[in-house]
Amino acid sequence: MVLPVSDTPFARLDRGYFMIEKSMNYIAAAFLFSLMLLACAEVFMRKVFNSPIHGQADLVEIMIPTMGFFGLAYCQRLAGHVRMELLIHKLKGRALWLAEFTSNFATIIIVVIMIYGTWTNFLNAYEIGDTSMDAQIPVWPPKLIITLGFCLLLGRCLIAFCGYIRLIRHPDAEPIGVPISPTVSDIAKSEAEVARDAIRDEDAETRR
């Protein structure tokens, strides 16, 4: 994904924020990789030494929401979430930016409400010292991370909010700070790039 190269303060803000999102996504990736190592270790310990890792299942369960919310804003910035693009890809110029503005605005509303809802949920867990069923792992840290993930997403949506307003005023300006939804051929192109990276030309020819 190539971000716009403009050097306005707004473009710099977008790029700077993206760096934060990117690092958060790497934390999510680290959780994903540790999840794999943890599950392998559990099988090894259980089958070979007959001593399962205590609390492993609880840990795995807690890791899923943690992973899901560390990467939330990054996925949003790269337009990675599922949507129906039928109408969006038919629209152009101001109409397109208005439609995007509307759904982004609705997203802001839901994110703000979810921040409140999940924060309350975190506070409850923190105050009563709620833990997981088996291993008694405290559940407030992942709940806090969910709220933080929503906050990071809110920042991203607010940047997009400004970006769409700018584009509604100047529909032909370079899009800055807004996720651009890939068309089917964009998706095809990026799949092709990954395949090209994975299978080098000399390798593509299987020998007989």
């Binding site: 990117k22 996504n25 790497y26 999510a28 990736a29 994903l32 990789f33 999840l35 794999m36 190592l37 599950a39 392998c40 559990e42 099988v43 299942a57 795995v60 369960e61 899923i64 929401p65 899901g68 919310f69 560390f70 990467g71 939330l72 996925c75 790269l78 990675g80 979430h81 599922v82 129906m84 693009e85 969006i88 439609a99 509307t102 759904s103 609705a106 997203t107 409400i113 979810m114 409140y116 809802g117 999940t118 949920n121 992942p142 709940k143 939804s181 089917v184 051929s185 998706i187 095809a188 799949e191 092709a192 990954v194 395949a195 090209r196 990276d197 299978i199 390798d203 593509a204 299987t206």
Partner: protein, 453 residues
Amino acid sequence: MIEPITIGLIGLGMLAVLVVIGMHVAYAGAFVGLIGIVLTIGARRVRDGDIFDVIEKGWSPGLLNAGTVPFSELAHYSLSVLPMFILIGYMAFHARLTQGAFYCMRMWFGHLPGGLAVATVFATAAFAAVSGASTATAAVFSRVAIPEMLRYGYPPGFSAGVVAAGGTLASLIPPSGILVIYAIIVEESVGKLLLAGFIPGIISAVIYAASIMVRVKLNPALGGEKLGDVTWSERISSLGQMWGILFVVAVIMGGVYTGLMTPTESGAIGAFVVFLLALKNGMTKGQFLNGLAESAKTAVMIITIIWGILILVRFLGFSDLPNVIKELILGLDVNRYWILLAILLLYGVLGMFMDAIGMLLLTLPLVQPLIIALGFDPIWFGIIVVKMVEICLITPPIGLNCFVVAGVRPDIPLSSIFKGIWWFFVCDVLTVALFVAFPGIVLWLPNQMLGAN
């Protein structure tokens, strides 16, 4: 006084509008779900009063209720298999498994009519055993198999069609992301669904291959040049190129079948082995980090849409709408297969406009109760639905797999790929009909699962 069912209907209408104007499915689901939860809770508490009384009574409990969803619905062990399967797929890219599978299958099936095309279909089926992503499978095989088919004189549109269709097998053959998502949304056993996908996946591949052979017999120009003869010892030794794939199949199917390992654990071991193979094959640090970041992004996308839709599902439950719709349709005096046909056609149409995950998550909360009430098996229906998703992957106007193949091979025009695909479309329709007529094909293996009732 507002009836919850009215709120449910208005909610569905609003959801449709939001999704069509391009709001992300996850947030559109959460948005409608949240408002709906507030209103339905309020409506149950306020017997006489206007809309503001309803909102006032429902506001605080509604928000708290929705706020618990992300944690309580995501912190489930069965969900953890998804990131593992995604990881296997990304690592498999770099593990040289594609070329190995193609080489081996070509040794075994190259002598048949249309041999290279048949080998491509079986190689995609084999690669599907380490990949749950149809588009990715189509992309790598476009790099590996299409040049070979062209070299031996297969027509470009036909070769591209073989790869695009073969790629769809990844959705069915475990590890399959979409089957896990189905299992989670309808609360069925992930292991059973994974096992259920195996035989139908192989049958789909065999039907593809058979259709290729028949077509080449009828029109030898499709088949290109014949390959040279291969000895049995060459065949046997070519299996050595497949051991990575065979190992992953054994771990995932074996682990799930015997119940000795959870699907997550099987997936994790599979991912670890494929990761080691990729390292051995010279995966760079950059490729590794990229693959990991992309896996995380895909996992986040799926996790997000799951909690978003589950907020919607909670609201639909409060509104009792799924039940009412179910009763309404059950009240129709028609054979249940007509209703099934209507549902499948609905998926065929929706799939033209939507990504598979979005389509399933938006429809299943309403469709699933109906299917069960009609006396169909939910595991079996999962396989049928995924088969429909595969069909959507190769049908215009979206036909994502065809676009992916055209993306890798810009020299083959999209129109000729769509022309090359249409026989495979017929095969898929026949396959679905076969599974509908004989549900036992789908259900036999999962019912053999150890410890299953």
